[in-house]
Symmetry: C2
Subunit: 424 residues, 2 copies
């Protein structure tokens, strides 16, 4: 079988021989080069991304294979430079209904991911951070499982993230959020993990809305295995499984941190539902903030260890975190200006609401049973009798007080009046 297909190097040759203007789509060389890069180098390196962006993926891979790449790129790829599983990876992806989406494709989510490019440019002069897990750098390509277009589902999307060791409260809130965001036409993006992530995905699925799980492993073996049914439903119902790692990649711990930047970057804002003390929530929020995205936080009982991290975020002014209590407020924060406005919480309007200070005091002075004179009311209400007499007719019209024939009293409550009144 292998002799029928072009080798990586043949593919790269052909790509380089083609037109200089990169239109990309359908050119196997570029796609294969980027597939190769996703396996050869752990994502998160600003230096490597810059160099690939500079020379192009095909030339970059050729240089790495030939040992002529810059020192920093060679150090990163190491012994993997000699291996090639790019075609196998592309085929393995195809078998599970996945594909590789590259920046040269129409469906590349260029607009949301632009935030990461901006971050790289903003820190252009600085030396690369030792800890690459927190670097803000675009992916070289994305493995995507599902039929929806990546750019379309990412357009109006919100990240809902939080603790794996969530409480029933947190899962309820995340599920409601997922459901209501879905109903409002927003895509929920999360990590597919236990706890808050899964609750948010399930809520969106229950609303029949697309939801995106960004994974720290291959899209053909989504982790955790216990969520296989959820992952399958996500991919089968208009949602997507997305990963920077090639098929078969294992969910190494540091990959989750690298992955988290992508969840923040793909969406308009990140909602943190539950987080323990000094958990990754702050880092996530700071990164989302650094990408110019909204950081939204759901509070919880101060007695809950799983809300401590949320409250820390809300107390830390540097994170710019905003408190939200539901989907309407989330949409208001991430949606268009002037549209998507949340209604303020309602309080039923009472007959006392429109009263003046004086009218309220006179009303308060009225006894429940035996009526009293306006003069007596004025004395209790600390006003002039004439003032009291001026507001009493309005109170009577509003059915708040009544004239008993000998004095003023409060109108008895409705139930009692029904008992007294006529049946018809």
């Amino acid at each position: 079988m292998s002799e029928l297909v072009p080798t990586l190097d043949e593919d790269l040759e052909e790509a380089l021989a083609g037109p200089a203007a990169v239109d990309g789509t359908g050119v196997p060389g570029i796609r294969r080069a980027r597939a190769w890069l996703t396996r050869a180098a752990e994502p998160g390196s600003v230096g490597l991304w810059r160099w690939v962006d500079d020379v192009g993926p095909v030339a970059a891979v050729r240089a790495l294979r030939a040992g002529t790449a810059p020192e920093h790129a060679r150090a990163l790829v190491g012994v993997r430079a000699e291996e090639d599983a790019s075609l196998a990876d592309l085929r393995r992806a195809e078998r599970c209904g996945a594909r590789l989406v590259v920046p040269e494709d129409d469906e590349w989510p260029a607009l949301p991911l632009h935030s990461l490019t901006v971050a790289v440019v903003a820190h252009a002069g600085e030396p690369e951070q030792a800890d690459r897990t927190t670097a803000l750098v675009p992916p070289v390509a994305l493995w995507v499982r599902g039929t929806a277009r990546l750019d379309e589902v990412a357009d109006r999307s919100v990240a809902v993230v939080g603790a794996r060791a969530s409480t029933a409260y947190g899962e309820h809130v995340a599920g409601e959020l997922g459901h209501q965001l879905g109903e409002r036409g927003w895509t929920v993006v999360s990590g597919g993990a236990y706890g808050i992530d899964a609750a948010a995905h399930r809520g969106a699925l229950a609303a029949g809305a697309p939801t995106v799980a960004v994974l720290a492993c291959g899209v053909d073996r989504p982790y955790p295995v216990a969520h296989s049914a959820v992952f399958a439903r996500i991919a089968d119902t208009g949602g997507l499984l997305v990963s920077e790692w090639p098929p078969g990649a294992a969910p190494h711990r540091h990959r989750f941190l690298v992955r988290n930047r992508l969840i923040a970057a793909l969406t308009r804002g990140t909602v943190v539902v539950e987080a323990a003390a000094r958990s990754g929530a702050q880092a996530t929020a700071r990164r989302a903030r650094g990408l110019g995205k909204e950081v939204l936080v759901v509070p919880g009982p101060v007695t809950s260890a799983m809300s401590v991290g949320c409250h820390e975020l809300l107390r830390d002014e540097e994170t710019g975190a905003r408190l939200v209590t539901g989907a309407a407020q989330v949409v208001e924060a991430v949606g268009g200006l002037g549209t998507d406005l949340a209604e303020p919480p309602e309080r039923p309007a009472g007959p006392r609401d429109g009263l003046s200070d004086l009218a309220r005091r006179v009303l308060d002075a009225c006894p429940v049973r035996v009526g009293v004179s306006a003069e007596r009311l004025a004395a209790v209400a600390a006003c002039d009798p004439l003032e009291a007499m001026r507001v009493l007719p309005a109170l009577e019209l509003a059915d708040l007080v009544q004239w008993t024939g000998t004095g003023w009293r409060l109108t008895p409550p409705p139930k009692r009046r029904e008992g007294h009144g006529a049946g018809g």
Copy 2:
């Protein structure tokens, strides 16, 4: 009996005939004039307070009695100008262990109440608001029940307020706050109402700390009656019952709103524990803010109707409300700069915490059972084999990996090792 005591007018005569410099203490005229004013005029009128402040309480009362006071003052007092219960009120107070504290007294809480004077001066040119219940104006005098000095208990004090229809969660939090503030030497000031108020008072009492109930009725008939035992304990254990209204005054509804400004003014900050949607919480917070006091808010479950008002406050940037989760954070906000700092929530330190990005990746690459070579680890960790070999000794020293004789693997967890290891 009445012929043995000087009449109000005699007392006022004498006070006016005395030295022009008002030292006040022990001068019955001034105290009696202010006692009379607390019954004759509902508090909350900026105009009346300004005029009394201007001409002095004795001359003000004489003018009101003689009908020569300014129109606005006479309108406010109305028919009450002809009545005099000042001596009866002072005696009734004495019988229940109470007294009238006037601005001329040493124990007048001049420092905290200065915020109200500032507010009056700040709005000097403006016409008086129609709704006097929200006006920021100092009291003309305070009826105080209990043995403590008012200025002393008010010095390091915090208001804890919230819903009457509180939940078990809110009461628990308010009780804990009251207790811990008390333990830290802070006085809890509240309104003595059902729900959050009572829980806060009870928490402080349980800590053996003084607590202050600011009432909207006479200190001899504290409301609600169901809290009689709590009120008695407050007055008997170093705390105080405080009111602007004379003994016997009824708790009219508008008085609670007028009273609320005093709770905010007497304290360094106000903590809102639970509040329903669009309840008085916002108004309370805005007034505390207007007085230059801290507005602190305890969040709760977003599923609880009794936390909706709290979350509204925290979302409304104009209130300047800050989220707090416990007494330490409250004290940090209202306490001295640099002292009273709250500890950040702790997370237990793990052995992975100090690791470099590279070391973490190599560690993640280690298998659980069968040891593998450094080259294999380097391939998985996407680094140079030499780099992997450089960090492995440190990981071994930290007891995170072990050399099996043929390769590297993760150190098995402690329990399993005990099972394998020797019994002694």
